[in-house]
């Protein structure tokens, strides 16, 4: 089986998102949002409830769990030195409301999201893209320009960085917009195999306790 590869421009259309299937490889070109902050996710939810305006118009956007070293120089110019994914499951509680509330077309990071998030993604037309953890040199090479830093008063990786990227990837579709999730699949497989694996361990020990 050959893996399908897609070169996609941002913002993504719903049709483009729904055409993706788990295991596909994606490269993205255009504008993304990046943050790795738990307080940032709390604050985004508060924005949706009207506490304050969002730092950017994020509707239909791509919000990724990426930590970055970003900076604003004295002359106002913005830069990002490196970026890399963080564990997405930390945001399981936030993402269903953020996906629906912002109408996200893509989210991602590493480690996947849970079934409730996958349902929100299927409803909304959104995919989860898996980045390589420990892939900073590859991922950072796709940065073309940083076009905004939201909430600069927060520490670097908690801010929301708006970044223009060119062929960001390769990213693996971990959860598609049809409710299929590689993370649910692998966990189900592991649980299914558990008894067999324990039997194999017993046999390797020579049958003893």
């Amino acid at each position: 089986m050959t893996v399908a590869e897609h070169d996609l421009a941002l913002p993504l259309s719903e049709a483009a998102v729904r055409s993706l299937r788990v295991g596909d490889i994606v490269h993205l070109t255009g504008e993304i949002f990046a943050t790795a902050g738990l307080p940032t996710h709390d604050r985004l939810l508060a924005c949706l409830e009207g506490a304050e305006p969002l730092p950017f118009d994020m509707a239909g956007g791509a919000l990724f769990h990426l930590g970055s070293l970003n900076a604003e120089a004295a002359d106002g110019s913005l830069s990002i030195v490196y970026m890399n994914p963080t564990t997405s499951t930390r945001f399981n509680g936030h993402m269903p409301r953020l996906i629906a509330g912002l109408g996200l077309r893509a989210t991602g990071g590493k480690g996947g999201l849970n079934a409730e998030c996958a349902r929100a993604m299927a409803d909304c037309g959104c995919v989860y893209l898996s980045f390589l953890g420990g892939g900073a040199p590859i991922i950072s090479a796709a940065i073309r320009k940083i076009t905004g830093i939201g909430w600069p008063e927060m520490i670097s990786h908690y801010r929301i960085a708006r970044i223009e990227v060119e062929r960001l990837g390769p990213l693996t579709v971990g959860i598609d917009a049809h409710g299929d999730s590689l993370y649910d699949r692998t966990l189900a497989t592991a649980l299914e195999r558990r008894e067999t694996v324990l039997d194999q361990l017993r046999a390797a020990r020579g049958g003893g306790g």
């Binding site: 490889i25 900073a136 670097s156 390769p170 692998t186 649980l191 390797a204």
Partner: protein, 289 residues
Amino acid sequence: MPITDAMIIEATMASYSRSLRKVPADVTAAIAGALETETDETARSTLALQLKSAELAERTHSFVCSDSGIPVYFVTIGSRAELACDFKSSIRKGWEKLVETIQPPLLMHVTNPLTRERGYHGKDMPIVTYDFESGTDYVEMVCSPKALGSGRWAAVELFTFPTLEEIETFVLDVAIKAAGQHCPPVVMGVGIGGTFDHCAGLAKKQTLRPVGEANPDPTLAAMEERLTKAVNALGFGPMGTGGDTTALAVHVDYASGHGFTPVAVCFNCWINRRTRVRMWGDGRMEWAE
């Protein structure tokens, strides 16, 4: 001539910087080996991408991961090493100087667990474990920057007179709970016995053992082999998207204890940050990894 504060400061700084930029050669060799046998196509491209990332970071002298972790060091002092240094204060100074000078700068990961405030410094930072070795004339320092990605999945359970079956089932269940979220393929460290604190230390140190280095104890070597096979049979794969390569190795150590038997399991992600440096009184510093 004795080992000086300046050498300890230099070792503290350089070992950290090196750990962030260089994936140990035994690890890249193990990933290259896994690439030859891995049957899942996505997994194969992920393994290849990992090798590319390691190569690129080393060549461009950049960080492999944006999460530079928190500072963790292990110091072993040889009984014949000549010393004229204050370890605690020099390691602290080395860390302070590192965060002020390193390029590119580190993100702030040191977290006060009571307030969740983050910075570069905090109580008990850096975390240093000291030990002694008889007969050697050097000081060895191992640097192990530790981050949430793989750190959060560690577990300790206290058993009473467990069978090997109970111990190995626990190890497997910790691997299932972590699933593929710790940036696999990982190195797993397992500690069995001793006391609560000692057992966790045994597990941690086993993650720092080079991959492919055989365990000299045949009982443990056999246990390592079957546990590695078992974890890989679960199928989580590189970055958790499925495949045959979840653990590059499971390393096990044990200690005698009472009938209450702690079992500790912890993980290092695929980049396996660790740097070992030995220092002698004549000023020599020898680097490994």
